[in-house]
Symmetry: C2
């Protein structure tokens, strides 16, 4: 089950709104997906996510494969039932974690061997196995196994990773088709991932090869891996138009509120990032007027909410002074209240972006967004 429909296009930019219909429901795009690494968006319940208007969340295949393990998730009837989330879910393939977290990852034609970052145990992911695991998890949108490389990387190495990524994409796609045929239906869709580092020529090759395979959606991987912000924008701007127009375009692991605005303007339909939840746990809160560090002494007596234009649970009920106190005292409640606010802020921003695109006033929205932040 997977459909994508473009609803409105900005006349001034490449921005667009659309909807994705998948097994567990409908998603309005462009959308930001909160990250629930281990089957929980850190500190939040599904009701908290509902309050934040989360339409889809992300789970990390690498993490879930190691803990609690596929056998547990399978026995508990899939990830949705296990974690009590009945809306759409996307899982990544593990590719990014092999790059960022696993020890001694070795990439061959057949897949990736790696050691667990938890106990050093040895494992192997083939493109087929990455699909099998994600089918057990039961995600609405699965991601193809890819080879993500860091920045900087030379052209030769980047080309090698790209070629492997294409080879695995084909193998994963074929395996997904076979498995779905055996099931008699396509319950889980599969997206392909474009690599190519910071080389436009290689991004072109990768985009062409990946789009040719026939995935229902495409992602741009290998961004936000340490490169300067401008280069990230440049590569996204270059690569996005190379992806099939009628299919969703997903930029992985991005980004800041500014990134969401900029990249939506370039035609991105989907985002994910740990930033709102991770920063919340570090006391950094997003507001319409810029970011604030809640442990700052100046909030000690501050009766105001984090953001007086925000309607989240935290802003409706708690002062900066209380949030500062909780954070400074390392109270567990601090992490939850902060995370609710940040996730709400990100998803509310996406709502405003969609509204601006639907009204064909995206550029005005973008100007106002920067004006409010004093960054015009």
């Amino acid at each position: 089950m997977f459909e994508f429909e473009i609803l409105n296009k900005s006349s001034e930019t490449r921005a667009r709104t659309g909807k994705i219909v998948c097994s567990h429901g409908t998603i309005k795009t462009p959308i930001f997906m909160p990250v629930g690494t281990l089957g929980s968006v850190k500190s939040l319940t599904v009701e908290d996510l509902d309050h934040c208007s989360a339409q889809i969340i992300l789970g990390n295949t690498y993490h879930l494969y190691l803990r609690p393990g596929c056998d547990v998730v399978e026995h508990l009837h899939g990830l949705h039932k296990f974690i009590n989330w009945d809306k759409p879910m996307l899982t990544d393939s593990g590719g990014f974690q092999f790059f960022s977290l696993a020890k001694l990852a070795k990439f061959t034609d057949k897949g990736v061997s790696f050691q667990s970052h938890i106990d050093g145990s040895r494992h192997f992911f083939s493109p087929q196995k990455a699909v099998d695991i994600q089918m057990i998890l039961g995600s609405d949108i699965m991601m193809s196994l890819d080879w993500c490389i860091g920045y900087p990387a030379d052209e030769k190495q980047t080309l090698k990773a790209l070629e492997k990524t294409t080879m695995w994409a084909k193998q994963g796609y074929d395996h997904w088709m076979e498995q779905s045929k055996q099931q008699g239906q396509i319950k889980n869709s599969l997206f392909g991932i474009v690599q190519g580092g910071m080389y436009p020529r290689l991004r072109s090759i990768s985009a062409e090869q990946i789009c040719e395979i026939g995935f229902p959606g495409h992602a741009i991987g290998g961004l936000s891996v340490g490169e300067p912000k401008e280069l990230m924008y440049e590569m996204a701007d270059y690569t996005l138009p190379l992806l099939s127009e009628k299919k969703p375009k997903y930029i992985m692991g991005v980004g800041t509120p500014e990134d969401l605005v900029e990249l939506s303007g370039m035609g991105t339909d989907m985002f994910d990032c740990v930033m709102p939840s991770r920063n919340a746990r570090n006391g950094q809160l997003f507001t319409s007027k810029g970011n604030i560090n809640i442990p700052n002494a100046k909030y000690r007596f501050d009766e105001a909410p984090i953001d007086d234009t925000c309607s989240c649970y935290t802003c409706r009920n708690y002062s900066r002074a209380y949030l500062r106190h909780l954070y400074k005292s390392k109270e567990l409640l601090a992490y939850r209240l902060n995370t609710i606010h940040n996730i709400y802020y990100f998803l509310d921003l996406m709502k405003k972006i969609r509204k601006a695109i639907n009204n064909d006033s995206f550029l005005k929205f973008k100007r106002d967004f920067y004006l409010q932040r004093g960054e015009n």
Copy 2:
């Protein structure tokens, strides 16, 4: 504002139900008070506490005085507004923390000097200051400054602490009366604390002296300080009848589910303890059939809720397998889901105790309670 009315008395035991009316509402007794040390019952929001049917929570004066400080709470219009809790609240006097946490506490006729356990800074609490701070916090029920001693303690030392406690109780009481007169009303009530260690003779002296002062309620302090369980029961059983029958009787810092049942049977009206919340954070969960350790490997595939007779949010939505996974992965959500269950369990137990007393079937309830736990 403080009224206490006894509603029903058990014909078989000294158990009784009653109601306390105080500034922020009415409390049905006997009651267990979840502990919100620093202005938060760890990991829970006030809505979570409502879900658990919490009628009153406890705040720790020592902790709140040090962080965020009285100036902050005063500026934010008192503890209720600060933490967003509009139901009754009790604060202790700091006495227990001077015993358990502070460094170099020195007890004189005038009060206690101590060093902060956080930064070693020096402070002094007089009985008057303990009242002043609690009036700033705005608690419905304040506690008189006391000298709590450990176990074992010799009779001479115990007598000394008792005498100081009585002296401070009188001074605190007089100060409370004056302050309330100045305010033109009694917004915050003040309870006296009986000490006397494990010496019945000293408990008698303390009870007589404290009850003579005229407090609207009385507490038994200095229990659960390391003594054997049987001795704790013995001292409670001995001391409870010595307290004014028509006023609430509060045993401080107690206890386990068994303690709540046993001590309610002896006529205790109020309890508080960090046990349900602290144990939750250590993965120990209370059930009608006894306690379970959620990290135990046997729960890896367990689809059942913590307790299939429990109606709490956690039990209605999550399996032991998921809770084990969250706990083993150190996910923040684990602490909250576990705490909701344990607090719910404790407050539900109190509800059952009140019901049994009201139906005059307390002994039958008690037999069933132990039977279910396999501890008959």
